[in-house]
Subunit: 703 residues, 2 copies
């Protein structure tokens, strides 16, 4: 954001618009833009500018911006790149602070274009101009109304879905496609090269629109990750945002010094960012708008138990499958509900969920059964599946069901299976803003997204970032002492930092004398284990280099001497560094806990199955710091390593609470010190419930 | 299959048809069926039967089947359930051997209906009648042509996709929907209750149709799993089969005595069965037909490297993502290809894959660039993505590209993004049988399925089921000796069976005397480990109850005595069973290998990450026995436990060959002895390359 002080409001409520590059040649984009501005029914004045002069669509063409009468709040520039800077200057002088540069020929074409683009930004900054583009197709607002794009008609019908896009071509496709899908757009912004205004800047101005009920984004990245999360998070408490983020693969590589780094990847960071911001991530363009319609039109469910209402067995089974695949469940109907259904339906009908009314089902039966299901307190929403009814028209079925749907506070989505025979029903539902899909799979995924949204709003209310009382100063001191000495921290620095944040250290010390061994044993707590510290010895226990379960200082002192002597006996020339003193740890489950600094989003915490196989198993989850306790719970729930902490077969329940605390503390540490590029505890041993955790190996890298 | 001797051929080439239950009331299904039979342009004679007599659609109505003149090969019965048996008898007497019972009121309605259905089958068997239904919507063949359904018009356009369905409602929906999707059907069969003819029976008769290029199935299960696999496998070598199998969830539970049993579930068995049969499994109805169109119309690719051709950046990125998500890769273009593209395109165009021709791209540029890409030997197929072109019509783009696509031996799929602006292009492509989709995601998944099909045909050519030389008689003897004594087999029986099939046994014996210990050590091979066998001692090594690395008989003999004496010293009253003699095993990777008998498909082999956590990690793969070596390779490739055998970080490469052999041998054992309900080796230790494997624990259950 280059000009944060200047408002973007004029883009969506300009008192007058200047089109620089208006053309009388219908094959030119400058003509298309002029036509759209005039035909869209925009209520302000529209001025055309072209040095050639003349008139267009019954209006005079002015030679320059300087010649325009007042008031003009916004200019759209669509002339060859070389001339744009000059026009931008004129806009500045003329007091126009909102400009769309639709022209291409800038950064997207190479170095020369980048220079031109930089020049534009210098001018924009000088005059306090906000600029959308260059290299974009413009914007539109169907309610103002305003169509400041050069796309061929028809424009999109008015609606409640806003679309913000990094791709102009996708805008063109979506505008055309939306009509066929039966939903309208509220505002649309094509961002182009984002020299100034970026996707994050337009979130709030678009969300403020009273007609917009859901924001959809096509993203190829974000300009400033942390600001995006911050801004989006504010909006998603009020209105849902659904995003399609592309470019998953080529840029997914990252230098992989740690397991955490290797696994994090850009996509996991984006997923964590979207989760934190409450942004729903779609995997395909169709999902993006399938979900947007449901979010715009449906009340939210209070749970995931769904009833299926249909008139045939096959569609019912398909719907049940689709619900389960999407993480929803089939509601168990109350006996009372079944009694009511029985009165409405023939004896052969199925009164269990999925409710199969049989092929003879009339429009009245559809409506009455739907009403019964929506009244059942165990039903959170209904999925209606209608193949072409053999005895009635689908249109009549739709018409009778719509009032029932409108009167309910529970969501209903419709799978209208077919094409011609269901066309009338499709139109009724669209007009009534009831989301309909061709097959149960898509209708089920829409219900799942509604549930996801409801859960987000519920959870968010009472969640707070964990901010434990930690010794930040101490860590700062440790890091300051290293000065410019980057790379991996020493064991003692690592240990000090962990302690300052109440994170478990590695309960192991290297002793070089028997007295030191006793001192460390004392510090770590008995019983301890001694192990020879020598790079030459691999099978330590085979040569008497390990002693277990030493319970007092005498045993440690004697043990130290014995181990050294045993080793020297077998390997007289061995390079002996001393003896490791280690607290004898109870058995436990082992996990990995790590954090890296994501270039876009900052501190990213990872939890999962640890050991050497962590990269192969990929049983890990990610969240952006700072973390709430719910975030940490979510990380456990989303990995086998985390679920296993509850206990599994012969594995006893482990100390989940200690792990949750460690996750949030690691997040706090990583967020407090962005210079800690990577922190990895692998493995972290988790003892049985209430017995704590221990770090068996920790690495921290300063960058 | 109740009447396998009688052919199903008359259903698809009847010389004459009798409709029993023809009605003159246009609101009745009996009228709809009569209308469809007459209007479909069927070339044989159609007779109407109704005791009321009269005439219908210009034809006389006969009172009974007995009154019909010859020739009649097929009868369709659509009268109340109670009267069907009698009509079926008349058909038998009249020599009609192919009957469709469209009437409902049978097994689907309960016990009384089941009785009626059984009665029908008795009659059918007596007269050698084949019966489709009851409770179905009939069948159709658009090329014969014949429409023997009662569905409202219009019927489906003629095409090359056959559809076989367990749900009549889904048939009705698909027929209607297909038209909107721009593909036609060849044959369609609604199976209803499958009292006689089932999904497997109709595979071959449908596949034999010269117009059918791909078979699609909507399945709620299969009637005989092994026969289905056998029949489908024969067909998929010639024509592709794509199946949507629903009912995944409720029936997925299975009594879980072993990990293998708990993990296998019905869905994994179906996946394994489809894989073995070469059937492509779709997850949604849309996928089913998205893929069917591509399989019917496109040549198969020789690899997974795809070029993307588009006129804008965003659609290109979306397409690249979609390809990678679907397991395809972006082709690396030859320098020569880029030179040729450069000559065709403006300087700002992107000549790397995705090739972005810019928004100005003309129909001629689309066609010429497509030609260049298809000529590149490194390109296996092309995904063309066209947003609505701002300067040209999408229709013109389609028209110029179609000849290029038709002349290529590589597949091309099209993502035509939009609605109205691309409608003409959609129609051109459909008429030319070029698969088009609205978004790149679906076009990419179609290419992936073509690649999957190509790989199946390639692999299948040289694959053979592994049939090792084993001692089947010995196993039979062991099992016979147990008689009716079911449940888990003893260690010695288990060991004998494993040995007979060259599978690794558990290298451990329980010795009760020093001499026995020496004998076992000899048998197992030195060095060995001795361990006290006592239920009272848990920390065996703490009390001197373990001796490692014993290299000869003397050491074993002395060790035995020492271990007993050590134990008695510490625990005087301990219950000592003897001493375990175990081969001292090298370190290795641990996996699980298991087999169960699936109720539908028989011997189902599982491989994956073992240990106690196998059910949590779910890192397992399944294949139906008997297995080819390729099946076993596939099982390794599809699990982390299998990929890890190649070595990973500090894990050395393990003996993959021994694992592959063990997988196929276990498959052979499980297939040879269906009474072995469950076999599970967990863990199976895999030593470094060429050093073999060892079973650490084996359980076999006889049922």
């Amino acid at each position: 954001m280059q000009n944060s002080s200047a408002s973007l409001a004029p883009y969506f409520s300009p008192r007058g618009i200047a089109l620089v590059g208006a053309s009388t040649d219908p094959s030119k984009l400058g003509y298309g833009l002029a036509r759209n501005l005039v035909q869209c029914n925009y209520q302000g004045v529209v001025y055309f500018i072209n040095p050639k002069g003349g008139s267009l669509l019954g209006r005079p063409i002015y030679p320059t911006v300087m010649d325009l009468p007042d008031p003009v709040d916004m200019a759209i520039i669509l002339i060859p790149a070389a001339g744009v800077a000059n026009v931008l200057k004129e806009c500045g002088k003329r007091g126009i602070h909102a400009v769309i540069v639709a022209s291409g020929g800038f950064r997207e074409t190479g170095d020369q274009g980048s220079k031109l683009e930089k020049e534009l930004m210098d001018i924009a900054r000088h005059f306090g101009i906000r600029m959308i583009g260059p290299n974009c197709i413009g914007l539109l607002d169907t309610h103002l109304p305003l169509d400041a794009t050069f796309l061929p008609p028809p424009g999109p019908p008015p609606g409640d879905v806003a679309f913000i896009s990094h791709s102009g071509a996708i805008c063109a496709a979506v505008i055309d496609w939306a009509r066929g899908q039966g939903f309208g757009l509220s505002r649309l912004v094509s961002l182009g090269n984002q020299a100034d205004v970026n996707e994050t800047d337009v979130l709030a101005p678009v969300a403020e629109d009273q007609f917009t009920r859901v924001l959809t984004l096509y993203l190829e990245g974000v300009s400033d990750g942390q600001r995006f999360v911050h801004e989006a998070r504010k909006i998603t408490r009020q209105k849902p945002i659904v995003a399609l983020k592309v470019g998953r693969y080529p840029s997914g590589q990252r230098a992989a010094a740690s397991h955490t780094g290797a696994l994090a990847g850009q996509e996991n960071a984006f997923n964590a960012a979207f989760r934190k911001a409450g942004v729903i991530r779609a995997d395909t363009t169709e999902e993006l708008f399938d979900w947007a319609r449901a979010l715009a039109w449906c009340p939210l469910p209070k749970g995931r138990a769904i009833a299926v209402l249909t008139s045939a067995g096959g569609p019912g089974v398909t719907a049940a499958d689709a619900l389960e695949m999407n993480g929803m469940s089939l509601a168990v109907l109350m006996p009372d509900t079944q009694v009511k259904l029985a009165k409405l339906l023939p004896p052969a009908a199925s009164l269990n969920n999925p409710v199969d009314m049989l092929a003879t089902a009339s429009p009245e039966q559809f409506a009455a059964c739907l009403q019964v299901l929506l009244t059942d307190p165990g039903v959170n929403g209904v999925l209606v599946v209608t193949p072409p009814p053999p005895m009635h028209t689908a249109g009549a079925v739709a018409k009778t069901m719509i009032p029932v749907i409108h009167n309910s506070e529970k969501p209903v989505t419709i799978a209208l299976m077919g094409e011609r025979l269901i066309q009338e029903a499709v139109e009724h539902f669209r007009a009534a803003r009831v989301p309909e899909y061709r097959f149960p799979e898509r209708a089920a995924s829409a219900l799942a997204v509604l549930a996801q949204r409801a859960e987000y709003l519920d959870h968010d209310r009472d969640s707070q970032f964990v901010q434990a009382h930690v010794d930040k100063d101490l860590v700062q001191k440790v890091l300051n002492q290293r000065g410019k000495n980057l790379g991996y921290l020493s064991a003692s620095d690592t240990s000090a930092i962990l302690q300052a944040y109440h994170l478990p250290g590695v309960p192991m010390r290297l002793a070089t004398t028997p007295d030191e061994a006793v001192e460390f044993a004392h510090e770590l707590g008995y019983p301890v284990v001694l192990k020879i510290a020598s790079p030459d010895i691999s099978h330590k226990s085979d040569i008497g280099g390990v002693m277990l379960n030493l319970v007092d200082s005498q045993a440690v002192s004697i043990g130290f001497a014995e181990i050294i002597s045993n080793t020297q006996k077998v390997f007289p020339g061995a390079d002996i560094h001393g003896v490791y003193v280690q607290r004898m740890l109870p058995a436990g489950q082992e996990v990995i806990l790590g954090a890296i600094q994501d270039a876009q989003f900052g501190a990213l915490v990872m939890f999962g199955s640890g050991g050497v196989e962590v990269e192969g198993l990929k049983d890990v989850s990610f969240a952006l710091a700072p973390l709430t306790l719910q975030d940490a719970e979510w990380m456990l729930d989303n990995t086998w390593a985390g679920r296993r902490l509850h206990g599994f077969r012969n594995l006893p329940p482990a100390d989940r609470q200690a792990v949750l605390k460690a996750i949030t503390l690691l997040g706090q540490l990583s967020a407090d010190f962005p210079q800690l590029a990577e922190i990895e505890i692998n493995p972290l041993r988790v003892f049985p419930a209430a017995q704590g955790i221990a770090a068996l190996d920790v690495r921290m890298r300063l960058a």
